[in-house]
Amino acid sequence: MEMIGHGGKEIVERVMSKDAALKRVAEMQAAKVKTLDVRLQMATEIIDIAYGFFSPLEGFMTKADVEAVCNNMTLADGKTVWSIPIVFDISSEELEKSGIKQYDEVLLTYTGNPFAIFDITDIFTLDVKEVAMKVYGTTEDKHPGVKRTYQYKDKFLGGKITLLNPPKINEPFTKYWLTPKQMREKFKEKGWEMIINHQTRNVPHTGHEWLMKGAYLGAYGSMMVDKPRGGILVNAMIGEKRPGDYIDEAIILCQDAQGKYGYFREDIFLTTCTLWDMRYAGPKEAIFHACLRTNLGCTHHMFGRDHAGVGTYYDPYDAHRIFSKLPEGSLRIKPIFNLDWWFCPVCDEVTYSGLCGHKDKKASFSGTLIRSIIQDGVKPPRRIFRPEVFDMIMECAEKYGFGNAFVTEDYLKRRQPVFTIEPLQ
């Protein structure tokens, strides 16, 4: 099976077999190699790197990569499009205390258990304000991506990663987390030649549903209809949460409910998740999503209005326009651009703004608006929000959210982590 990912490079899993990992850890411990315990942010990206979600990256970026990303939107090779820095930060104090030097091989642990090998090839500093401006287009720390950038410690380590100890993905995410290789095997099994990715960090309303249906019909084109030759991949971003967001469990199970309850035929619909902390970088994040979904094996990627934006930092269609600035052939995935879907009381349906002639009567709705309706204790009508999805939200609130479908401080403290790294035995 073809395993070619973004940049035309083969997807290579940087994951050691269990026997080899046990032997390697024992050797490293006997040799008293330096160790570092990583936090959740880094652990998440180590997993993504190791399984090829970020292919062709084989590790955390060096300074040359970060500079190329910021200045040219490419990796250091000057050719491969890349828009978001993937960096490993460390404080000067930690660096001094650990004694880590360039070209060291470091044993990374997570929650105290052996996790990965980090071959350090670069130790560097960054002007975080400059990075923020070039990636996010602002230096305001109100922007969540900028805030994250400013929270980085003062030094950075670049180099390759090898995973020693695969994550245990906890329920209810277990069946939804597929590696790029597994994802491609699944597509082959389903006989899909066309795979349209729907990026989400939300519980679906019918605007999302129609966005997907519109993209499917548009992209299906002149392929034969004797059997389903294409499908929709809902790939939910599961990562850092902010109070008021939907809980992760509700996002994944409600997305899946659209297939389970027949709003999409199950043979043309697949729900999965990827571990990623949204940066809300708008157009730059749209490019990143395209690269990531290329690695998953998708052929098309939907980009709606205000894709991955936040506040008023980006024009609603900046995430469309940026694609026209890329050199021809630099992406192996086709963007599908969408305008709004709104509810039209005259058509009496959710309809596409590019088709509906009743703009003055339209009622726009968004994920935020629907969240507000649900928070007020109101069940939205089925034309706006599917009742089975609503019921699933309520079930998730009880089962996973300590009575709340939205992220609270309590949920953040008490929730079961999405993944754990268990002792290597």
């Binding site: 008023t312 509810f343 709705f365 968004s366 309706i373 928070q375 007020d376 204790g377 109101v378 009508p381």
Partner: protein
């Protein structure tokens, strides 16, 4: 040009509907989105910014609806009660004063 107003959408659940009917203010609701009842309480840009500062979970949906959303339910209940008491939707000033106290 008239100053743009940013609504706080108070969605009408059963409890609120009962209060509205009891106060004889049913006409104040409008129907949107295939039959949902809502009272839109207008806020100025200055009031909106104050609200967003006081309530960190609140969000201004700048991209789509240009409304102030995700205020905690009990806060919306307070605003709703002011609407009923005053028989008017122009209550944001009074609400902010009570919160700032």
């Amino acid at each position: 040009m008239a100053e743009e107003k940013f609504p706080i959408n108070i969605w009408i659940n059963e409890e609120r509907l009962a209060k509205i009917q009891a106060a004889g203010l049913a006409d104040m609701c409008k129907e949107v989105l295939a039959g949902l009842k809502v009272i839109a309480v207008p806020a100025t840009a200055e009031q909106r910014d104050k609200i967003l500062k006081i309530f960190p979970t609140a969000k201004f949906d700048a991209a789509t609806t240009r409304s102030i959303e995700n205020l905690p339910r009990q806060i919306k209940d307070q605003i709703f009660d002011l609407v009923i008491e005053n028989k008017s939707v122009d209550v944001v000033d009074e609400f902010l004063k009570s919160v700032e106290k």
